[in-house]
């Protein structure tokens, strides 16, 4: 194995883009992460739904977030559910702006033994066809 751990599975099974999710999966084209946010109660909402689930009222629109977050939990996957995959880290990241918005993601640019629950991370994107997948790396790794 090379020194750098895999950034994800050997095959990225990509999401089908539709009118509700296209903004999210293409957000990284400009290097920034976006979530729906309610114009009434100002909650962020994920995954996308037609109406704000908090106030059931205000309009929802994509809004840029900081891209910073915290690892809520993680696992390093070894089993080859997807043939040809090297071990990769699957993280669950809570965004800095709101503690009930989480993303399943891959944790990259970090040795597996250094992964910790609670570690600060920042978004980085990996383009696959017309999708920009948000991945997360240790905070400050990209500066």
């Amino acid at each position: 194995m090379s020194a750098a751990p895999a950034r994800g599975p050997s095959i990225r099974v990509l999401p089908r883009l539709d009118d509700a999710t296209r903004f999210f999966w293409t957000s990284g084209a400009d290097g920034r992460l976006r979530f729906l946010r309610c114009g009434g109660c100002h909650h962020y909402v994920h995954p996308p739904v037609p109406r704000c689930p908090y106030c059931l009222d205000g309009p929802l629109a994509p809004e840029v977030v900081s891209g910073r977050g915290v690892v809520h939990s993680f696992t390093v996957n070894y089993h080859q559910w997807i043939p040809g995959s090297e071990p990769y880290a699957i993280g669950l990241v809570t965004i800095e702006e709101q503690d009930d918005v989480r993303l399943t993601t891959n944790l990259v640019d970090c040795p597996f033994e250094d992964l910790r629950v609670g570690m600060a991370v920042e978004v980085t994107f990996e383009q696959a066809e017309d999708v920009w997948l948000p991945l997360f790396r240790p905070a400050g790794a990209g500066s």
């Binding site: 099974v13 999401p15 089908r16 999710t21 809520h72 696992t75 089993h79 559910w81 669950l92 597996f112």
Partner: protein
């Protein structure tokens, strides 16, 4: 009898049945199901013409190969049942949802004797097709794209419940200091019990060293933290409590069921990752009964993955929250204070998907456990199935309740 109190107390398990259970039995799911169903009907002292209700989890056409078992229409036709009520489906409080539905059906008078079954042929299916995760086939640009809940996890190779449930274990290591040496005891306890269960899949002794040496699946879960795919069918007859005096076998009374989910219903957004909806299902169950956790004599708690059993132990109040690690470590307290997963559980006796836990609870209450029978004549059994955002539980009692 049982004129007041929760309506599920108008239901009893009057009969139980189970087909052969094994690896790659090479028999169809319907074949195994008919075996289990006929056993359960006979055990209940009934004839198939007495069965007027039928229910299953999850119904045909869902999941990977070998997961779903035959649909309720297939089973109805195979047994030529004349039904007043029928049900099959995936959504609800875990695998036991079919049993809960049956309880309500007999309580409501929609049916008198409901046959409920769960069948898996995952071992045979994996033998034919290899073990694959969702989206594991194909490659490159030919891979189909996904919509819906899975579309948020598949791109990252989070393809199996093993991955999501590993998050639970990792989070509990962070919050509660859980260790692999503690987690191991769910598997070790299961194997110890499986050694004296003739129908168990794995019966050779397992040591802590064996556990720590086996290959990792998805940290911190190793192979022995994941249940054993098998072929097998389990069936029960849920009857109206008025039938109890006429039943030839000891009936198991349904005391309370737990069905709640109060957090966001997904693997990644649920508020408390250390509990998931076991927290809510257990709370809703205890709110429906005068029994208390200290009354539980035997616990059959879902171990599709070892960590789920630890969550259930805590949320059902069988040990304090956060303390299941020390509670199970060494294996003494889960043998004596709360005999746990007495058939070997799904880790060693096979992934009968929740219905094995229910079957074993009835076996123990009836005193038919043979070499693995819990001493002292257990009177109250806790049964839990599922984990994450898919969870349900129930209390069964040997005596009349409510």
């Amino acid at each position: 009898m049982s004129g007041t109190g929760p309506l599920e107390r108008r239901a009893v398990v009057s009969g139980i049945g189970q087909s052969d259970v094994g690896r790659r039995l090479g028999r169809s799911d319907l074949d195994l199901t008919v075996d289990a169903c006929l056993q359960a009907v006979a055990d209940a002292g009934l004839h198939r013409d007495d069965i007027d209700g039928l229910a299953t989890f999850p119904g045909a056409g869902v999941g990977t190969a070998g997961f779903a078992g035959p649909s309720s229409p297939e089973v109805q036709d195979a047994l030529r049942l004349k039904l007043n009520w029928h049900d099959g489906g995936l959504e609800g409080p875990g695998q036991l949802r079919a049993v809960f539905a049956a309880c309500l059906a007999v309580a409501a008078g929609l049916a008198r004797h409901v046959l409920v079954y769960r069948t898996v042929t995952e071992s045979s299916a994996q033998g034919e097709g290899g073990r694959q995760g969702i989206g594991g086939g194909g490659g490159g640009r030919g891979v189909p794209r996904f919509s819906g809940p899975m579309s948020w996890t598949l791109p990252y190779g989070a393809v199996s419940a093993a991955n999501w449930i590993a998050w639970i274990a990792q989070r509990r290591m962070h919050e509660y200091g859980l260790t692999r040496e503690q987690l191991a005891w769910i598997a070790l306890n299961g194997r110890r019990n499986a050694e004296v269960n003739p129908k168990a899949i794995y019966r050779q002794p397992m040591t802590l060293a064996d556990y720590l040496a086996v290959r990792m699946i998805t940290t911190p879960l190793c192979l022995y933290d994941c249940d054993a795919p098998c072929d097998g069918s389990t069936a029960v007859v849920v009857s109206h409590v008025d039938y109890a005096p006429d039943a030839p076998s000891t009936v198991c009374h349904v005391n309370a069921v737990g069905t709640a989910i109060r957090g966001r219903p997904s693997w990644d957004q649920f508020d408390d990752m250390t509990t998931f909806s076991a927290r809510d299902a257990a709370a809703s169950m205890w709110a429906r009964t005068e029994l208390r956790p200290a009354d539980v004599d035997v616990a059959e708690l879902y171990d599709g993955f070892s960590i789920l059993t630890m969550v259930w132990l805590e949320e059902l109040g069988l040990c304090p929250r956060g303390e299941s690690g020390p509670f199970v470590e060494g294996g003494t307290r889960i043998a004596r204070e709360v005999p746990l997963n007495t058939s070997g559980g799904q880790l060693s006796a096979g992934r009968l998907h929740g219905f094995g836990m229910l079957h074993e609870a009835c076996v123990q209450l009836r005193g038919e456990g043979g070499a693995r029978q819990v001493a002292g004549g257990p009177e109250v059994a806790a049964v839990a199935a599922g984990g994450g955002p898919i969870a349900g539980c129930m209390l069964l009692t040997r005596g009349v309740s409510g």
